[in-house]
Amino acid sequence: IFLASPSALTGSALFFAAQRCIRALKTVQAEHAPPQHYTWRRNCSSAVMPRITSHYTIFPRDKDPRWEGVEMERFADEADVVIVGGGPAGLSAAIRLKQLAKEQEKELRVCLVEKASQIGAHTLSGACLEPSALNELFPDWKERGAPLNTPVTEDLFSILTEKYRIPVPMLPGLPMNNHGNYIVRLGHFVHWLGEQAEELGVEIYPGYAAAEVLFHEDGSVKGIATNDVGIAKDGSPKDVFERGMELHAKVTLFGEGCHGHLAKQLYRQFNLRENCEPQTYAIGLKELWVIDEKKWRPGRVEHSVGWPLNRNTYGGSFLYHLNEGEPLVALGFVVGLDYTNPYLSPFREFQRWKHHPFVAKTLEGGDRIAYGARALNEGGYQCLPKVTFPGGMLIGCSPGFMNVPKIKGTHTAMKSGMLAAEAIFPKVTAEDPASETAGLHIPEYEDNLKKSWIWKELYAVRNIRPSFHNYFGLYGGMVYTGVFYWILRGKEPWTLKHAGLDSAQLKPAKECTPIEYPKPDGKLSFDLLSSVALSGTNHEGDQPPHLTLKDDSIPVANNLAIYDGPEQRFCPAGVYEYVPLETGEGMRLQINAQNCVHCKTCDIKDPSQNINWVVPEGSGGPAYNGL
C-alpha cells in the first residue's frame, strides 16, 4: 500500500524496484492526508503533469510502437453458456442451468469466470438474507449445510440525533421488517453456492477477470475474453506477457454486480437504457467486529437513520449480531451517492457514527477484524434497463434488482439468475435454436422477470427512495413510506422520478461548507489506511492503473478546481490523492491503484465522468473473508 510516491512514470524498471524495496522496508502507517479545504488556486497550466493513464483501453496497442511484433493471438474455447461474475446471481444461474440439465438428462457446458482469487473474496453485503429464492433453488439448503446460522430474533429501527436515539416501532408490513430472515456473512454464503455449483459440474475459474466482450460479425455477443497479464505500469509488454483467453458461448450472462464495467459498455452498444432513468447508487462501508461477550445479542438487527447525516443526505446504518460461535457483529454505513456536498466523506461519516452512544456501547472493548466497501443500487423499478440483447443478458445487481427500503438485493439477484437460466435452457439445448443472430437473443427472460415476484416487489416500493427528494428530505420520505407503502402498499398510480445522474448532483465547493470530522481515536474509529490494510486488498504493482482517465488533465482542471477533488473523499480505499507537484506550483492527481477495493464509487460519482474503472489483472482486489 503506497502513499505519496514521488516517482514519475519515466523511471526505469530498476528505479521502480529500488523504490519498492525501500518502501517495503518502512512500515507504511502514515496518517491520512489532512482534508484539503477549498482555497483559491490558480491553475498552473504551464506545469508539466506526469502521465497517469497508460491502460490500453485509452491508448490502443495497435498504434503503440512498443507492441509491434508482439503475438496477440488468443486461445479460444467454446461453452454453451458463459457467466461473468461469481456472485449470488451468476452462481444461481449456473446452478439452475445444471439442475435443469440433470433433470432433463442433457449435456450442457457452463463456464463461470470471476475476478476474485476465490469465490466470495469480493463479496460484501450487510446482510439479512430473505430465503425466498434460496428455498426455490435448494429446498434442502439446510441439509446441504448452507451457512444461514443466524435467524433474526430482534429488529430495531432508530432515528439518531447527535446524542440521543428515537426508537421507531418496527411494525409488521414495513419494508425493512425482518421476520423470517437470516443474518448471513454473504461471502461465506456465496462460497457455499460456489461449492454447490462445482458439485453440479459448473466450471468455475476464479482469478480470471472478463476484460472484453466479443462480438460476432452480426453484432451479437459472442462471448468474453479474460484479461491479459504481464503488462508493465507504463503500458509496455513485460517478458511474462500473455494474452487472455476467449470463451465463446451461445449465450453470455453478465452478473458483474453493481455498476459492472462490461455492462457499462453493453448499455452503450445495445442502447439498453433508452427507456429508463439513469441508475442511482449508494456506497456501503462495512466492518466486522469481535465484541465483548456480555454485549452480544445473536440475531439482533439494528438499523438507524439520521445522525451524522443531515436530512437531505440519504443514508443510514446497520448493525447485525451474528451467531456463529464468536461474538461477532457486522456493522456498516450507507450513504446515497446523490449527495451534494463535495466535502462529504462517506468513510469518515461511518467512522464518526460509531461514536454515537447507542453504537459505541456495543463496540466498546471490541476488536475490529475486517473492513470493506462497495457501491449498491438504489434506483429500483425506474432504473431497470432492457436486460436482454442478442447473445446475452444482464442478471443480478448489474441491472439492479435491489429492494432499497427492504435493504435487500440478494434474493432478487438470485431469482433473476434462476429466471435467466430457465429462459435459456430450452433455447440452448434445442436442436435448432432458430435465432436470427449468431448469439442467441432470448427475450423470454425479460418476460419472465415481469411476471415474477421480483417485479411486483420492486413496483410496490418504487416510490420510496425518490420520495426523499423533497424539502423535508429524510422525514418527508419516512412520512411518504408510512402513508403510501405501509397503508396503500405502493398501489398509488404515479411513479416518482429520481434526481438524475449521481455524478451531476455535486455542488461546486465554494457553495458548500467543509465538514469538520473528528480525528479517529484508534479504538472505535480508525484512519483510512489501516482500514484498507484490513481489507487484504492487493494488486500486482507493475500493471497499468485500472482506474483509467479519459483525459489526464481533467482531474486538476475540473474536479480539483471546482469541486475540491471529491474523489479523495468518496474513495473508501485512499486511491485518489492530490499531491503537490515536485517542480513548480500546483497539484497533480496520484492514483494508488493497488489500494482499490473494486467498489466502483469513483466511476459513479466522478463529477466529470472522466474516470473509467476497468478490470485489473485477475485475482487482484480485496481478500474479504465472509463479508
Binding site: 482469487s117 462460497h191 480470471y208 479474460t226 500473455e242 487472455g244 477484524i369 486488498t537
Partner: protein, 253 residues
Amino acid sequence: MSRVLVGVKRVIDYAVKIRVKPDQSGVVTDGVKHSMNPFCEIAVEEAVKLKEKKFIKEVVAVSCGPSQVTETIRTALAMGCDRGIHVEVSGKDYEAMGPLQISKIFAALAKKEEASLVILGKQAIDDDCNQTGQMTAALLDWPQGTFASEVTIDGETVKVVREIDGGLETIKISMPAVLTADLRLNTPRYATLPNIMKAKKKKIANMKPADLGVDMVSRVEVLRVDEPPTRLAGVKVETVDDLVAKLKANGTI
C-alpha cells in the same frame, strides 16, 4: 535426462492481515485467502525453465496438506509441471506439520521417484523456517545449493550462485542435489486460464505419509500464539537534557 521434484506450499496470501485465533492456538485460516508461497512459485518457474532448456525431462509438483492443497498443485501444473503428488495430511497432523516431517516426505519421494534434483523455495512466508531444503539434503546425504539466485546445469554437476550475507558465493555441486530458490532467481510466469484448463487433465497422485514410511509425529508443541505487542506511541522531547533525563528515568542509561 532426469526428473525434478518441486515442493509447493499453500500459505496465507502475503497481503492478508492475519488474526490470532481466540483460543491462541494458532492463526485463523478458515476462509482466508491462500496462495502458493512466493518462493515456491520461483522454484516451480526454475524447474519449468530447466525443462524448457531440455536439461530435465519431467517436473513433478509435490504438496503436503489437506484437500485444498490440490489447488496449489494445479497452479504449479498450469505453470508447466507435468504431474503432481498430493501427500494427504490433515487435522492435528497438519497443524503440527513442520520442516522435519516435510523433509522426511521429500526424501522418501526423491528416492521413490528417482529424482536428480529437488527444488524448493528457500522458506515459507508463514513460518519463515528456512529449514526444509537443508534437512532434505541431510536426510538424503545429497549436496545442497541454498539461496540460489542463479542455477546452471553442466553435465552431472550444477553451478549455483548463492546469496549470502557478504554478497554472492558460487559453488559447484554434483547431482543429485537439493536446491532452494531465493528471490532473484527468476520472475515466475502467470498461470493463464488455458493452462489451468489443461492442468485439469494432468494427473495428481494421492498418497499418505504412511505410504512413504514417514511418521508425522512432531517433537514440537505450540503452547501459545500471541499478537505482537502494540507499538507504543513515541514521545517527543524539546532538548537533549530532557532526552537524557527520560532515558535515565526509564532505566535505559
